[in-house]
Point group: C2
Chain length 153, copies 2
Amino acid sequence: MAKRKSLADSPCPVARALEIIGERWALLIVRDAFDGVRRFGEFQESLDIARNILTDRLRLLVEAGVLDVVPASDGSAYQEYVLTPKGEALFPVIVTLRQWGEANLFARGEKHSQLIDRASGKPVSKLILRSAVGTTPAPAGTFVKKVATQKSR
Amino acid sequence: MAKRKSLADSPCPVARALEIIGERWALLIVRDAFDGVRRFGEFQESLDIARNILTDRLRLLVEAGVLDVVPASDGSAYQEYVLTPKGEALFPVIVTLRQWGEANLFARGEKHSQLIDRASGKPVSKLILRSAVGTTPAPAGTFVKKVATQKSR
DNA sequence: CCGTATCCATTCCGATACTG
DNA sequence: CAGTATCGGAATGGATACGG
């Protein structure tokens, strides 16, 4: 008993997403990857995570298709972990999470780290995110239920 | 040993945010709250979560200031759990997570649940998110480090 | 119907030692 | 440097029984 219930088959996209990245380390690894971190040791030092756990989390993220393993860019015989397109698509998630954290989790005047968007040169905290409005035409029968109770403010 | 490292004091807003909602159930509870769920039993049924865990997670979210406890709206002597402004500010996080899940975690033709934004009448999956561009003027000395390595695509 | 309390299996995670 | 192997303690989560 006490077998953990899998969310991987949930009809809710939020639940499925959490099955992959709803875990203490996963998103921090992804955040570091966005930050340019590629090597095992860099992740380990940056996150201060035990090596065995890091090994396991990297493996899970690779299996999930969020990271990819490539031969090291320098001569060394090792590997590097880079974001796949699927992993890069997590950028808006990181940004919104960061924005929420900055706005709600820091005392006035308290310092926080910052991330600059390479393309725009602006802090990611100030990015306006564009969703894929045109993508997924959503043909009839796509949804298993429709709930019209959302507030947006 | 093996004491879990707290992220609550991390200078990274993403890490702090994950300390609160980076857990298997927290965001699903928040998602349900956005969906209009307010009662203990509703959460329990919707999430199929053990009652003791639900109790604990609700308590944590209340402590974190994401949910608030109010007297039941019907006559019953119980309580209801409603989103605080801080909790409602998580809306963009849920939306981006959902968008990512829809785009990357479902096979073509596979159905997923849907959520309609009350204000706009559109699916949240197609919302264009506006960040608080004007807020937090970010005076000098706000950041502990600046990293300019971000890719945005 | 709303929770709390207990018990226990599973999972997580840190420390450490070890290999190449 | 980049992992793997093993260990033990802590946290998570599920089942269930109980009380308001």
